[in-house]
Symmetry: C2
């Protein structure tokens, strides 16, 4: 009998880098990105800057960036509010020629359902989503085999038409109408990512595109972003061989991009993040800590297994629980977005310079 | 600046278990599952038996198992050859309440395209596939937004029809016809999995269902199965906290189910496995080793980046390279399946007891 075991161990701080920078670790987690420090030319760059310096942008980055700028600019001219909705999980490759990766569970339902609600509230939506996760409108067809819904009809002129069988899928017509309206008003832009670094580059580009909308921009960060990654220069080139014995892979913590987003990329915007936990006892503390750390407007706290039943909206002023059992709604996202739109309106008024 | 690093380390053999069993490690990897050993009642069970004993079957296992049995039985009565096609990657959770998992890259294209070819060759196909990966026929629509293809037409009687715009998608009609034919002959059974343990249970059940077809059964094992997993009793209960410091997760090697499949579950069947590598220099040696180890019929050797251009068919007798550049075909799977059907016919004749 042959057996084989291994360890995934999250270990020590990257002490070498800190030693080189001559910087004490004492102030810990919250010391990242102090602007005062950075005025001293001898002090090293922020984690997020180092990340972008050591990772190439994705191949189609320039064209996606341009699309987002043009989309945001067009809607801002009309005074339309614009929201970036991020959705789905980011993949972190374990090998340079990617065969295996670490992933986050996320169907994209939260993001896709929320995007529909924002659209119905009159927002223009940039939907930054993981490849193959649910899309607004299309998500309602996700469990339907398309080939089962479509029938072939022989017309009298000898041609063959492909007709959807509405009896098998009664909601199809209304879903399609909703989508066609959005398409006609050009109010939805779909941008896709797969890997962590693609997501981070596109988030920054989206933030810059939306920064011109000032307080009229919202960030609704529902994507399940990896906490750990392997820098590409440390990755194994080829597929890890199961019979080879101990490969050593060092996991690094992904820099939290909320810090530069709130401070530098879109400082006037209304920013909403999510805190998803499986342990109820940690949830509200962690949500409050995030709000204090990043200094943004709302954290939506939710428990994995009940995330479609209730959430708690956490702001500097209050906790507010929203639950579908209290109200006559088709999904929790109706309540979330309705609440956020009100909060956003108040935010715009309060931060108006006039 | 706060940083954080960790290790994924594949380490030592599970020596304790081997010591307990009083079994030497000397014969190593190939010693697994010796039937001679097992006649001695003091000798421990095989790895694959222990895996099933320590993992519960998936909740819908009984109904999927029954479906596969009925499907296989129905087609065997007619003398139809039956193939199990496995497709897509298996997910390995890192936490019991699954948020993060390790995954294998696989779109499912190989499996879905191959299933179509088997169907056109007259085989009945059980398509055991990862949730959300490509399906036969439907795969051709994967990069098409359904909502873009469907138009709403107002009919003179006031009703609204949903019509596919064939100008936007000229191949839709022929794809749909292919699917409707398969549906009419009930020759395709779709069975879905997500996690490693689901896949392994369903593979065993499928093998048992097909074993009654004897030499007329084929196994075409194109799924990208994980090499490593974390036993559920060793998993962390809740989501790993990035700020918590070092969690220790022990990875175990997944037992190779080809061993019991060839020896016990379907010993008369024609079995085809895949060897996917990124390093060309290892490919053929590893394919040949697999064939010697498991004692089955064919290994299809392929390189990740060129897997849609060429493969090498490795049998005990020969290596044979198949390449789309040599022949007028739409995809490499046409060549692979055509070659396998011929090999299967020879196999049936050679192993005929009459």
């Amino acid at each position: 009998m042959w057996s084989f075991a291994g360890f995934v161990k999250m270990a020590t701080v990257d002490q070498q880098q800190n030693a080189e920078a001559g910087k004490s670790m004492e102030d810990g987690y919250n010391s990242e990105g102090s602007d005062i420090d950075k005025q001293d030319k001898n002090v090293k760059k922020d984690e997020w800057e180092l990340f972008f310096e050591s990772h190439e942008p994705p191949t189609d980055f320039a064209s996606k960036k341009l699309q987002m700028h043009e989309f945001a600019e067009g809607h801002m001219k009309n005074g339309t509010r614009v929201v970036l909705v991020t959705s789905g999980g980011t993949a972190v490759p374990l090998e340079n020629k990617m065969v295996r990766f670490i992933d986050n569970f996320s169907s994209g339902k939260r993001g896709a359902a929320s995007a529909e609600q924002f659209l119905s509230e009159g927002y223009a939506v940039i939907f930054l989503h993981r490849h193959k996760t649910l899309l607004p409108y299309e998500r309602h067809l996700a469990n339907t085999r398309l080939t089962d819904v479509l029938d072939i009809r022989n017309d009298s002129d000898g041609t063959q038409q492909i007709i959807a069988n509405q009896d098998k899928f009664p909601k199809l017509l209304s879903i399609l109408k909703g989508y066609k309206e959005v398409q006609a008003s050009n109010s939805l832009l779909l941008i896709e990512f797969m890997m962590l670094q693609e997501y981070l580059y596109l988030l920054q580009a989206a933030a810059e595109a939306l920064s011109f909308a000032g307080t009229h921009a919202m960030f609704y960060l529902a994507a399940a972003v990896s906490d750990f990654y392997i820098p590409s220069e440390e990755m194994i080139e080829h597929k890890i061989q199961s019979a080879d014995g101990p490969p050593n892979i060092i996991l690094h913590v992904v820099p939290k991009m909320l810090t530069p987003l709130v401070r530098h990329w879109a400082p006037e915007a209304f920013v909403v993040s999510f805190k998803l936990e499986t342990d109820r006892s940690l949830l509200l503390d962690k949500a409050r800590q995030a709000l204090e750390k990043y200094n943004h407007q709302v954290v939506i706290a939710n428990i994995l297994e009940e995330r479609n039943e209730w959430v708690t909206m956490v702001t500097p002023e209050e906790y507010q629980k929203l639950s579908i059992t209290d109200r006559n709604v088709s999904c929790i996202e109706e309540l979330i977005i309705s609440d956020l739109v009100t909060k956003h309106t108040v935010f715009i008024v309060n931060n108006s310079s006039e």
